[in-house]
Symmetry: C2
Subunit: 474 residues, 2 copies
């Protein structure tokens, strides 16, 4: 989703390490105009879409090649100083904040499409390529890259957080769509984690280990991704429901029947109202599913008919179709703008966002109880969800200067995560752990699992220089 | 595939560690009737479907619970003795051979379906459940588990080798279909690597790290897997081609068009001949694609029509359909029996099997050059392939007492792997590294990648007790 999280109940404990002047001098010498210590540049690289406010990194290196990254990391390693990879800064949980100080490595200039292998449905890109730029580049080949987290994030960042979004129900997440990586390790060495073969049993799955490691195990310098043929037929539809439960039970049935729906999003009535006000869409102000079907024209028609029949069973009504690209874009833009629509509904507010994901049979229970709690709290909120995956986001709208509202919102989040974990789910479906969910991760995985992560981290980054202080404490 | 590999150019270097009598006594005391030192039992646990002949493990523990596994590993850890997980013994590369001695932990009695969550399309099983037993158990729910390596392997073993098989082109491999694991670590601790949520960004992907780690990082004691609704429509077809190239070019086009074909197998003319002799199938003795389509009846019809049109372009002919379950079973059984059919074609022979996987655009090049080399060698061979994935297997048929034939076969394998790596592929698509492909892995991944694997191994198994000596040397 496109929505910044603004967690506030926990204040990151600073453990700033000394950054030796000798390192800054060495970086300046090596990188010249690709290096900056200007405060504005440092500050821009010292924040993401989270609400944490921390001192910025000591300097920024604008990498233009794998060798640049390797040299920057090797220099930092020599001085045991932290390095933090930076894409476009759209992460949501404080992932790129310099909690232990250090050097930001901006990968934005590494924005080349290295090679498109249309015949193999693969593409190799540098990490600074954004998902929209990638789609622009491969469209003329009749291909697309489906992962769509809302924000026009960099592919390196999306891989690092194991991002997903609206298309994951059909196409999977970054976990399923990264084939291989080139990675700079903690010592500044360059390794490859896989090949362009679609499957392999050749040793440990280093690719999947790097995906979702949030920059703590290596800096990705090249990504080989899966592409998909642009579907011959695409059709989007909205359908209204009398209750959230009815909408969710409809989704559960669609998924259980194995209908290959490409997108399946829930927007609650209150959020539809906000979206209408913001985007002038004139949508019916009821709980709504926003769906998309991909396939041959006949298959799209068949999927849509089956889903309509299922929706009927759950009192779904007012099916409306968007078949032209323009209509579809309008709908999905509205969906992606739900966050901004919500923010504008309460002047001066911020949103505290949640990211739980549960097995789909538990979705109704998890959602409905959390809706009751949110309603009872009196806080306004938005509610959107990649419900086909069991993943949804509340955004509690708070006055940032009102401590009581913050406390209430964080308490709601905490209750929601506890409920999701009890129901067999996860605290984060797609945003990552970063600085904010370390306690939740411990509860979810248990100390044994987190200890295994720590052991891997220590083995691959013995001086703890790669984005230290994220995911878990050491 | 169902075919044993018989690599012979490399003789594993034994480095048997002393197994203290105190450990054997402690295991005997703890496990009683679940413990055996009988030579027949040890020997049965000291071989797999590879050709390596090594001394058997010192003892076998028949684990019946997670606690049994944890206790066995903890005892072995105390004595720094190797433990080797054993499923059904169908691995192909020497994975479960006691090259450093030690204790075999037989997981075959841990064969319970722990829970079927039909609504969530997930199932949790013990590691000794085989894929056929799983499919029998979930069929009445209208569900199936698609991964089909031919052999009725245990799911623990399939996860450990990152197995796949004929359905991977549509449903992925064990990499995509294991949601979460319970694992006993090197110290005997029990951890969980994930939840039942379909996606998660909660820290390092320990699940994917364990999948394909061949028992070297932990012993899987429970697996949560994805299930799929049994397709409403299933149809299988054979189609003959004048050349292997024509067949392969047809497949490339099918994949590139995004047709969701469920199975897409190549069998070369010589192998069809062997299969006919073995299974009395009366198939046309030409190069052949064996395909299966899953979906709604209309979608299956549409897929099949489109594929027929594509096949026409490549001189595909003699399309024959198998729509009843009996006809389909007959065809796929024949496919899975190709190995045995081949073995029977040359009395007393063994097969040396290959497992390369390349990007699909390189499939024709890789296959055709390797066919030329095999033809020129004069060795008889079979050739089958999961060509939709770019994965195929030669089986060179050799007289095991003929050193020259062995040498020729291993040389062919070596040339093939080199070619596949040059073309951007992998030395093993689905069989794993085991004892046999360690050198190939090093070439494929580079020393940096293998060093990273070694670092992880050392961190998670400091005394190198978990299936030591596999994948890489330490």
């Amino acid at each position: 989703m496109n929505a910044p999280a603004h967690p506030t109940h926990w204040v990151p404990e600073l453990a700033q390490r000394a950054i030796p002047e000798a390192l800054l001098t060495a970086l300046q010498t090596r990188f010249g105009a690709q290096y900056s210590q200007a405060m504005a540049v440092r500050e821009q690289h010292g924040r993401d879409e989270s609400a944490f406010s921390l001192p910025p990194p000591s300097a920024v290196v604008f990498a233009e090649s794998t060798q640049d990254v390797a040299d920057a990391v090797a220099l930092a390693a020599r001085h045991k100083a932290p390095v933090i990879p930076f894409g476009v800064g759209s992460s949501l949980e404080g992932h790129l904040l310099a909690i232990q100080g250090g050097i930001s490595i901006d990968l934005g200039r590494m924005n080349q499409i290295v090679s498109i292998n249309a015949e193999d449905l693969t593409v190799t890109v540098q990490p600074g390529v954004t998902r929209k730029a990638l789609n622009d580049a491969v469209k003329s080949e009749g291909l697309f890259f489906p992962i769509d987290p809302g924000a026009d994030a960099s592919l390196g960042g999306m891989a690092a957080t194991r991002a997903s979004g609206t298309n994951a129900v059909r196409y999977g997440t970054m976990r399923e769509n990264v084939l291989a990586l080139e990675v700079v390790t903690a010592s500044g060495e360059v390794i490859r984690t896989g090949t362009r073969a679609r499957k392999s049993s050749a040793g440990y799955d280093l690719t999947r280990l790097m995906v979702g490691s949030e920059g703590t195990l290596g800096v990705m310098t090249e990504l080989t991704l899966k592409l998909y043929p642009l579907p011959e037929g695409i059709s989007a539809a909205t359908c209204s429901f009398p209750t959230i439960e009815a909408a969710v039970r409809c989704v559960i049935q669609v998924i259980q029947m194995g209908i290959p729906i490409a997108r399946c999003e829930l927007i609650d009535a209150g959020t539809v109202r906000m979206v209408n006000t913001h985007s002038k869409l004139g949508l019916r102000e009821e709980h709504m599913l926003l769906m998309e079907f991909h396939g041959s024209p006949a298959s799209v028609k068949e999927q849509a008919e089956t889903v309509q029949e299922i929706a009927d069973e759950f009192e779904g009504h007012a099916f409306e179709w968007a078949t032209t690209p323009e209509e579809r874009t309008r709908l999905w833009t509205a969906r992606h703008n739900a966050y901004f629509a919500a923010i504008q509904s309460k002047p001066g507010c911020r949103a505290i966002s949640t990211d739980t994901c549960v097995p789909i049979s538990k979705l109704a229970d998890c959602l409905l109880d959390s809706v009751s709690e949110a309603d009872a709290s009196g806080l306004p909120y938005f509610l959107v969800g990649h419900v086909g995956d069991g993943n949804f986001h509340f955004g509690y709208l708070i006055d940032p200067d009102n401590g009581e509202e913050r406390r209430v919102a964080e308490a709601l989040n905490h209750q929601l995560v506890s409920r999701a974990l009890t129901l067999g789910g996860t605290c984060t479906g797609e945003h990552g752990v970063g600085l904010h969910k370390m306690d939740f991760l411990l509860t979810e995985t248990g100390s044994g699992g987190v200890d295994m992560m720590r052991a891997i981290k220590r083995a691959l980054d013995p001086h703890n220089i790669l984005n230290p202080g994220k995911i878990f404490t050491l």
